[in-house]
């Protein structure tokens, strides 16, 4: 189906189902229960899941396939965001031109940076990309303020020209009139599920991106990229020019980043300079490795994992904890609160750091490998399932050629 092999089609269908029903799946706890803190099914976070999923999928096309570790991909995300907001300021609040422009601008920007940076490999390449991104960030924060609005970030205002929009046009990013912040909430007993326009737009775009990524992974081009990672010398002596292959991968992943940036700005019309900081670039690296570099679904899982901690764990405060353990006797309650408190709220970084270490120590293939191990326990030695994901995870452990 769709030019995919059976197992890839299956993966795509599973992902499509998960994404479609995410508003329900991510809200497993009744809204009034004390566990509702762990619900992630509200529009903003779901949008972030899929948008950063797109970012990580794109990054994985570069890093997972070619092995080139870019430490400056956030620059493309930031550039995409700025382009989108400018489009919404100048032309129209419709998100289509904004997103299109963000992809194009990020693509052009990545051609420029990629062309220069790809003259080096290994860590020299990483540092070149890092240097370009940090330059972009520092300039966006200070001297480029007329374009970027510096520290505050670029916002839309009431008196922007918006020459294509008529008088009655919506003042919020919209898709032909359907505003991104529109939502409807369904109540089902104690549960509540919020379906938002913005999320479903992101979801559709994410599924398209994911589908394209599968096509790229399985295409001859994708194979060439993996060959670049494996042995550049052999590539050269097989008559293949590695430079355009790596540059193409770089630009594709840059465009994915731009798309993610454009979507971020469409969901919430603000483009902040921090989006380009090295920590943001590092975050997508972590997402990809955490989920499983070189696998199809891994980066999406990694993105979800990190965003979940950032948004859910940081909001647990002492009062919430006391609420959970209120059923216990006083002394024990205080004991549990004292034990857990350093790991949540302002300590969410600590939990994240510990989990990074645990995952990389115990699951060398990332979260995907964890999923496979669980899957294996249920499947009972189903050797034939030569899962593409598994093989990708294993590939990473093959020691380099002699």
């Amino acid at each position: 189906m769709l030019g995919l092999e059976k197992r890839d089609t299956l993966l795509l269908i599973v992902v499509a189902c998960l994404v479609t029903f995410a508003p329900i799946l991510l809200n497993p706890f009744p809204a009034d229960s004390s566990m509702a803190q762990f619900n992630a099914g509200y529009p903003d976070l779901m949008q972030r899941f899929v948008i950063f999923g797109i970012f990580a999928i794109g990054f994985n096309i570069l890093f997972g396939l070619t092995g080139y570790l870019s430490f400056g991909h956030a620059a493309f995300l930031g550039v995409g965001s700025y382009s989108a907001v400018w489009m919404m300021k100048l032309l129209t609040m419709n998100v289509i031109p904004a997103i299109a422009l963000s992809v194009i601008v990020a693509g052009l920007f990545s051609v420029l940076i990629g062309y220069v940076s790809l003259r080096r490999s290994g860590i020299y390449f990483s540092i070149l990309t890092l240097a370009f991104a940090q330059m972009s960030f520092n300039l966006a924060y200070s001297v480029l303020t007329p374009i970027t609005n510096g520290e505050t970030g670029l916002q839309i205002t009431l008196n922007d020209p918006r020459i294509l929009d008529g008088a009655g046009a919506p003042s919020y990013p919209n898709l032909f009139g359907a505003q991104m912040n529109e939502a409807t909430t369904l109540f089902f007993g104690g549960w509540s599920f919020t379906f938002s326009v913005g999320y479903y737009l992101c979801a559709v775009i994410m599924l398209i991106s994911f589908y394209l990524a599968i096509r790229i992974f399985r295409s001859p081009f994708g194979m060439m990229l993996r060959a670049v990672k494996s042995n550049q010398q052999r590539m050269n002596y097989t008559g293949l020019n590695t430079k355009p292959y790596t540059l193409a991968a770089f630009v594709i992943s840059g465009m994915y980043a731009g798309l993610a940036g454009g979507l971020l700005a469409s969901m919430d019309p603000l483009a902040g300079a921090e989006r380009m900081q090295w920590t943001a670039s590092g975050e997508v690296v972590l997402m990809t490795i955490l989920g499983g570099a070189g696998t199809l679904i891994g980066p999406v899982l990694g993105a979800g994992f990190i965003k979940y901690f950032e948004n859910i764990f940081s909001k647990i405060n002492k009062a919430t904890l006391e609420g959970w353990f209120a059923f216990m006797p006083d002394g024990i309650e205080e004991f549990f609160v004292a034990i857990i408190y350093p790991f949540v709220g302002k300590g969410w970084h600590l939990t994240l750091g510990l989990l990074f270490m645990m995952v990389v120590i115990f699951l060398p293939g990332g979260l995907v490998e964890g999923g496979q191990r669980i899957g294996k326990m249920f499947r009972r030695r189903d050797r034939k399932s030569s899962d593409a994901e598994l093989s990708a995870a294993q590939q990473r452990q093959v020691p380099p050629a002699e």
């Binding site: 030019g3 001859p220 993996r226 002596y237 380099p400 002699e402």
Partner: protein, 253 residues
């Protein structure tokens, strides 16, 4: 006129004259061996032929065209394939994928943006790759990771990858180095078979005299960066200069 013409090639590394005044002609459809003791400049010469090094002086012509200043991939696309001393294959890819890549390179040239094409639509390429694997008796290992193969299989795979491009000149850099005798003999048989079945020129750099004398039609002896003699195997065997250069190494071989 030969398919490969090397004229007056010289190469210096700092204070070391690695090659000087190298003249060499490889005739079309011959097997030409280049031998010489360690440090004679064999590998340097080979690197000059494939574009890894650029000689300081002289010219290298392949089929009437200069290869100097061209990148390795361009030289490969002209029709020169190289087999390395230690097999250079795509260790992280499967055997089949290893085979597919040169098939694509032959058809599509040095770069093609086939990012959204499906492998399922590439019946011709897949067929060709399968055919090559069958020929090399590697077809039952097609799904294996290349890194997991034995050294002998890796060598066969590398040769198969080079042949898949239908090169006009196959350069072999000590193809049996570090092999057991049995594997060496297998490789000799394989190369003989290739020679018989294909319309191909082979240039081989070798240390092992057994291999050289089993295969070569002409032999160039290199010593201290310059050709000593060039002749048929029979003449070379008894040549005093060669004996001198090798100081008894021939006996050991």
């Amino acid at each position: 006129m030969g398919i490969l013409e090397v004229k007056n090639v010289g190469k210096r590394f700092g204070g070391l004259q690695a090659l000087s005044n190298v003249n060499l002609t490889v005739e079309e459809n011959s097997v030409h061996a280049i031998i010489g003791p360690n440090g004679a400049g064999k590998s340097t010469l080979l690197n000059c032929l494939v574009g890894k090094l650029i000689p300081d002086t002289g010219s290298v012509m392949f089929d009437g065209q200069s290869v100097l200043g061209r990148k390795p991939y361009e030289i490969n696309q002209m029709g020169i394939s190289r087999v390395f001393q230690t097999p250079e294959i795509f260790a992280d890819l499967t055997v089949m994928e290893n085979m597919l890549i040169p098939c694509f390179a032959k058809r599509d040239g040095s770069f093609r943006m086939h990012a959204l094409e499906s492998m399922m639509n590439e019946k011709d390429i897949v067929g060709k790759a399968e055919h090559m694997l069958e020929e090399m008796k590697l077809i039952d290992k097609r799904a294996m990771h290349a890194a997991a193969m034995s050294r002998g299989d890796k060598r066969r795979l590398e040769i198969a990858m080079c042949l898949a491009q239908d090169p006009r000149l196959l350069l072999l850099d000590e193809p049996t180095a570090g092999m057991a005798r049995a594997d060496t003999n297998n490789t000799i048989d394989l190369l003989k078979q290739i020679k018989e079945e294909r319309n191909i020129t082979i240039a081989i750099i070798e240390h092992d005299m057994h291999v050289v004398f089993s295969l070569a039609e002409r032999i160039t002896v290199l010593a201290q960066g310059t050709p000593l003699v060039e002749d048929t195997p029979d003449k070379i065997k008894g040549h005093p200069k060669v004996k001198e250069a090798y100081l008894g190494e021939t006996q050991a071989a």
